[in-house]
Amino acid sequence: MMKTTLPPGISKQTLDEALDGFAGVVGKKSVFKGEDIVSYRDPYAIVDDDYFEASAAIAPSSVEEVQACIKVANDLGIPLWTISCGKNLAYGGAAPRLPGSVILDLKRMNRIIEVNEKFGYALVEPGVSYFDLYEYLQKHNIKLWLDVPSPGWGSVLGNTLERGVGYTPYGDHFMMQCGMEVVMADGDIVRTGMGALPGNNTWQLFKYGFGPSHDGLFTQSNYGVVTKLGIWLMPEPPGYRPYMITFEKEEDIEQIVEIMRPLKINMVIQNAASIVSLLLEAAIKATRSQYYNGDGALPPSVQKKIMADQKIGMWNFYGAQYGPQNVMDASWSVIQDAFSKIPGAKFYFKEDRPGDAAMDYRSKTMAGIPNLTEFSFVNWLPGAGHIDFSPVSPTTGQDAVKQYEMIRDRSADFNYDYLGMFIVGWREMHHIFTLVFDRINPQRKKQAEELFDVLIREAAEAGYGEYRTHLAYMDQIANSYNWNDNSLMRLNEKIKDALDPKGILAAGKQGIWPKHLRDKKP
């Protein structure tokens, strides 16, 4: 029988009392404990598998049940950790930051409440995945496109709250969010923006409403439980053409970014394009051991062989065009002329790479078609997990080089490979270093943990911060955003204390702890 991990300061008796209370709301069959908790663990834990262990999980099916569960938790001081689809993989999955938390699992709240083709939006509950919404659009022949992250099984609402990104022109998910419904820690329920106006027909059309705009407060935070979310969807364009440009040399990254910046900010590059490193691209179709069994960085001769075998570059730029054919043709000539300045640049459309699994799945994601092909990169090492280090970089060649070389060199120090990409925003790039680590060998796992720690510190010293992180590093990264004697965290904590004085919601999320745990963060 599995030992129950209790939340700090909560007795087994109080927890049992709470579980009875939850069962009275959601029914006994929707309260999970014991062996059933194993499937809430982080599958890619960088610390011990059972470190971020929940005590139990509960699965409400309606907003009213969420309110009632929160009341039970508030009465007894039980910490809850909210998940939507629980697929926040590489960042902790369904596991809680505070060991012993009860998971508030919203997967069963999976209604697609409205899809509006005329205005291009959807209103969804937390349990709706990208696959679910895509299937709904297909089934009802609705001519709207989603914007999906690389893995399609995550929650539309959850990913947006994490400020995740995708690969179409709507790639910044929070930018495309419009209207929320939130259950507060005191059980009150709030609709943001125009949603506060009874009888309105603009909740998903105008973000701001009247007065302060609160939506951002409920992203990457622990101030409420979001139960509905509006998201704008792109009308199906009259034409679509994904493209890939390969570059031969490592140092080309500087020129690629310099050429790209004006094209992106002037919308010649229309989508959230990506610049993918050699090994991340190669790992979609091959394992490391198929090419090299030595320690340290892959020798140049091996890198060249991979490039030749897979017809890929040291850097691989993926973008897509959307619109009438003549408009796409015109902007393509601008893109081609610009990148042709880099010697060795090669240009491909999808039809130029038949049977290429990488081109196939990127063509899907840039068209908002969910899939899971990108998980192939986890196959790079046997028995691997992955955790993402995600610093924000300005769109300058100089910064891209500095970040790339820093991460490449530190990874090599710990005998790990650089598998990374830059996802292109308007004025910055999310630099995603996917640390594929050996999770079976404890020593190698420990080294991955140490590498991650070094990366955060070194990046912060250079003025780079991460946009999102794994449970294990939330405190450390929050501490790096410490301007003016931690004034941002002091504000976060004031808001936390005002909205959730008992600290029952998602303790420790993004480094924000309730008052009673601030001096003894587990």
């Binding site: 499937s39 997967k107 399609g152 997990g385 079976i440």
Partner: protein, 108 residues
């Protein structure tokens, strides 16, 4: 058609439709939750990994006959190597039953 034969026809049709419904449910669960990684062909990380580790004969789950129900259930709930775990709120106990029947070793 005499009454005995008619009754027999009804019983057989009922059994066939029950099998078919169970099979359909298992296939539905597989398609929704498993196929994106485990379907046949390129672009499926699970199929790819199993092919490399165990050989092409063992790469495609729907073509295998060696998957014991208890093993399937364990792997779904606990994950296995690169594969993540799946919760009851994702794949319910009855859906997991249907899935294991769909992938059972003695299927035709």
């Amino acid at each position: 058609m005499n009454i005995k034969r008619l009754l027999c026809w009804f019983v057989l049709s009922f059994c066939a439709s029950t099998v078919s419904v169970a099979e359909q449910e298992g296939a539905r669960v597989f398609k929704h939750w498993c196929s994106h990684c485990h379907a046949e062909g390129s672009g499926h990380p699970g199929t790819q990994r199993l092919g490399w580790d165990k050989g092409e004969k063992f790469a495609v789950l729907e073509q295998r006959k060696d998957l014991a129900p208890a093993y399937i259930k364990y792997v779904v709930r606990n994950g296995y190597r690169e594969m993540p775990n799946f919760r009851i709120t994702e794949i319910s106990e009855s859906e997991l039953e249907a899935l294991t029947r769909y992938l059972q070793p003695n299927k035709e």
